[in-house]
Amino acid sequence: MNAPIRRIGIVVAAMFCALLMSSTLIQFVQAKDLRERPGNRRTLLASYSKERGSILVGGNAVAVSKEADDTFKWQRTYPQAKMYAPVTGYYSFTYGAGRGIEGSYDDLLSGSSDSLFYRRLVDVVTGRPPAGATLELTVDPAVQKAAWDALGNQRGAVVALDPKTGAILAMVSKPSYDPNLLADHDLPKVSKAWSTLSTDQDHPLTNRAINGNLYPPGSTFKLITAAAALESGQYTPASELDAPAELDLPQTSVTLPNITGKECGPGGKDNLKHALKISCNTAFGSLGMALGQDKLRSQARKFGYGQSVTVPMRVTPSIFPATLNEPQLAQSAIGQFDVRATPMQVAMVSAAIANGGKEMTPYLVKNVRDSDLDVIDSTDPQEFAKPISGQTASQLNDMMQAVVDGGSGRKAKIPGMKVAGKTGTAQTAKGKAADVWFTGFAPADNPRVAVAVVVEDGGTMADEASGGIVAAPIAKKVMEAVVSR
């Protein structure tokens, strides 16, 4: 019987070899694929058990991981929850790293980014537990707070930029949400919070400053129309424009009226500078038709309409319609019809004018620091475009100062300082209160901040609202927060 026992031994050896091979296949050959499979809870949990980098604003964390006494090991907390939610985004076990910096720079914060390779190597050698990179933002806490407080309980958004660099000084969107609810480790509670937030009619998860359904820019678009006119070389701020009480639109029986119902100047004529100052609809409607849609569209595109920008969150491209008939062109020239813009885009237009025609790419992350807070990477300001000449910029600057000085934007005036601006009151639908705007910069002679403010449906003023009444005071407070230093 010994020969068959030996043969059984060979069979047993073969069986064990099969097991050794299969486990090698799983734990060595396929290990990486299996680890990276979506739905691998272990990998998810592992990313949780590593200290995630903080997000800093003015030296204080607005998103930080604290040691937790549970399976997740680290609890992500947002000390100033709602005010910074559009900036930070959230970090949720169930819903992942979403929106804001958390979503856009997940690889840096979690420490898995390739740019941290050298750091990780050092950590392995020194035996230090690996940690994600810390991100230092451009946001100025005082400006953010001013914008947050000034907007009050109204729905809308505020963006403040440093026109010289493109650094985002404030980014506020209301209503906001508390990312702590989504970062909680009580998962049923999280999913409840999520369904409440995601079905809320007011869309608190949406960052209105860069995404959202986009707003008609209304009269703030007149800046672009004016820029196109000045850039064409056929117009100066003193050029006479047709400015009747109502502008007859060709091909239709509809007219484009002034809000006041009066002509903008004696004899139904007005010059470009004054038309901007009082936000004369008929003057800009006729100017738009005179320039033609190609010039207008091209000027809008140069400012960034239709172009994709990341800050690092992706900004929804603003829209200037592709084809227009004459009445639609007249409407578009005053920022109505199908023209749509993000507050970020509107702020970029002001910033370009403020910066002598040089438009800077907006950015939110100033420095990337490793866990020792040594700077690994810092953002260099970059030029986005040169949509207008220096001369056009200074002419527009001058015209915008007139708007604040004695025009529709008087409420944005800061004592002892020249402020430039433009109001907007955009009709969205019949019977619905307008979305009101203000965009501008200060100080006008040496700009340090450019802002865009939008308040949905007239805010607390509802039907009585206009950009000059509701949005301008908010912009004033935001600009003051910058220039008061």
């Binding site: 019987m1 047993v12 799983i26 299996l34 272990r42």
Partner: protein
């Protein structure tokens, strides 16, 4: 049957003692490691536990010195090591679920380990010669069959995870199949030793291949039908495979006829194909085997694979992985738990330990001087090998997952008891195989007598 050519004179008991100390040292180190990793302290009961296990192992060692001085020196240390590591892993998974030693499975498993090893010692003391067992051939055979059928009875039979292989009374659960495995192996060995001559006779040749006589097909058909019965009525693919594979292997060893393997494999193929066509739960198993990640089905294999992948080459370290993410992490899937925390090298080490036990068992079979001992040792060793193959192969996708306990490591009393009894029997046979026997040496054994009478019934 060939004669024993090795002339072993050393008992190797001292080797066993050193290896035993090593085994216990590794287990205690692993236990301390888990405590440090999970609770940041060396467990307070490390000393008590160490003394407890040490005393138990020492007593076992002394029993061997007293009653089986020539027994194989590797079996006890390896069984102790596997049992101990299993305990540590079960305890570690208890901790992950937030259960301390008084709430989880670990204490129960510890009690069972003690009980099982004491049972093994008692067996060694009581049974001085394994040939005694062959006197009770049919009693043991019937007991085995009865135990196998027990879970099918109403009231005490229990359905657990779709298989009806448990019995329970008063909060006390047992898998009688584990014990049946041993009594049936003894029965097979005794029966086949008696009938092997008849079974090795050649009937007609088919395509030049010598087949047994048709009338001798009876036993294999009965074994086949019984295995199918287990599969159909208890829905236990693993046990079915184990019993039939074991029977065919022993039949082959007893008769030295490869025809039996061919017949066995054919019957096995027919049985599985028919069963696969008929039963939805088998089809599910096969689909799960082919694509463990397909949506809409159980993710138990997938979770085990991800656990092993998380461990990679060197593992996360004991207490630092997440084996509790896998279902049955402390029983059928305990190998993936080790794969996660000890890595590929840990899995390989464990597989080698199993292979060593099996190898020592087969060697005992070769060394044994009586046909019954040879068949019994081979059968027991092969059943261990088959069981490891079926359960580890199931979780590593070599074969469809069937659900068997992992010998010595799975949480569960009946399995531990059965495996320690196997160790006791192997120790007993190996003692006789290695003992320099003055009285019998030189005598030709009966099997080699060329004028022996062949019983043809």
């Amino acid at each position: 049957m060939s004669t024993v050519t090795t002339h072993v004179t050393k008992t190797r008991r001292n080797t066993e003692l050193v290896l035993l100390a090593f085994a216990i040292g590794i287990v205690l180190l692993a236990y301390a490691n888990v405590g440090m990793a999970v609770q940041d302290t060396v467990p307070a009961d490390l000393g008590t536990l160490g003394i407890g296990i040490g005393v138990l192992a020492l007593v076992f060692h002394l029993v061997l010195r007293w009653r089986a001085a020539y027994a194989d020196p590797l079996l006890l240390p390896i069984a102790t090591l596997l049992n101990g590591l299993g305990l540590v892993m079960i305890h570690r998974i208890d901790l992950a679920k937030g259960e301390d030693i008084s709430e989880g499975f670990a204490l129960r498993q510890l009690e069972w380990s003690a009980l099982a090893s004491i049972a093994a010692m008692v067996l060694l003391v009581l049974i001085k010669d394994h040939r005694l067992l062959s006197r009770y051939t049919f009693t043991l055979g019937l007991t085995g069959l009865g135990l196998l059928l027990l879970p099918l009875l109403p009231v005490i039979g229990k359905n657990v995870n779709g298989s009806r292989i448990w019995i329970g009374f008063g909060g006390f659960n047992l898998q009688p199949g584990e014990i049946a495995k041993i009594t049936l192996t003894i029965f097979f060995a005794a029966y086949l030793v008696q009938t092997r001559d008849a079974l090795s006779l050649v009937g007609r040749r088919v395509l030049g291949f010598p087949l047994p006589r048709a009338r001798d097909l009876g036993p294999i058909m009965i074994a086949w039908l019984a295995s199918l019965g287990v599969l159909v009525f208890q829905k236990d693919l693993g046990s079915s495979l184990l019993f039939f594979g074991l029977f065919v292997a022993m039949l082959y060893v007893a008769t030295e006829r490869r025809a039996w393997i061919a017949i066995g494999l054919t019957l096995f193929a027919v049985g599985t194909v028919v069963a696969w066509k008929l039963f939805a739960h088998l089809q599910e198993r096969v689909t799960l085997w082919l694509d463990p990640f397909a949506p809409g089905q159980s993710d138990q294999i997938a979770k085990g694979l991800m656990g092993m992948a998380a461990g990679g080459m060197f593992g996360t370290g004991l207490g630092q992985g997440r084996p509790e993410e896998t279902y049955y992490a402390n029983s059928d899937f305990i190998m993936t738990s080790f794969g996660e925390e000890l890595g590929l090298i840990g899995v390989m080490a464990l597989l080698v330990l199993y292979a060593l036990i099996v190898e020592r068992g087969l060697r005992t079979g070769i060394g044994a001087r009586d046909g019954f001992g040879k068949l019994l040792a081979t059968g027991l060793a092969f059943s261990l090998a088959l069981q490891v193959f079926v359960v580890v192969g199931g979780v590593t996708r070599v074969i469809p997952l069937t659900g068997l306990t992992t010998p010595f490591m799975s949480a569960g009393g009946s399995s531990l008891l059965a495996n320690w009894v196997i160790v006791a029997l192997l120790l007993r046979i190996s003692d006789q195989a290695r003992r320099p026997d003055v009285q019998e040496s030189g005598n030709a054994s009966i099997g080699q007598d060329e004028t022996q009478v062949v019983k043809v019934r």
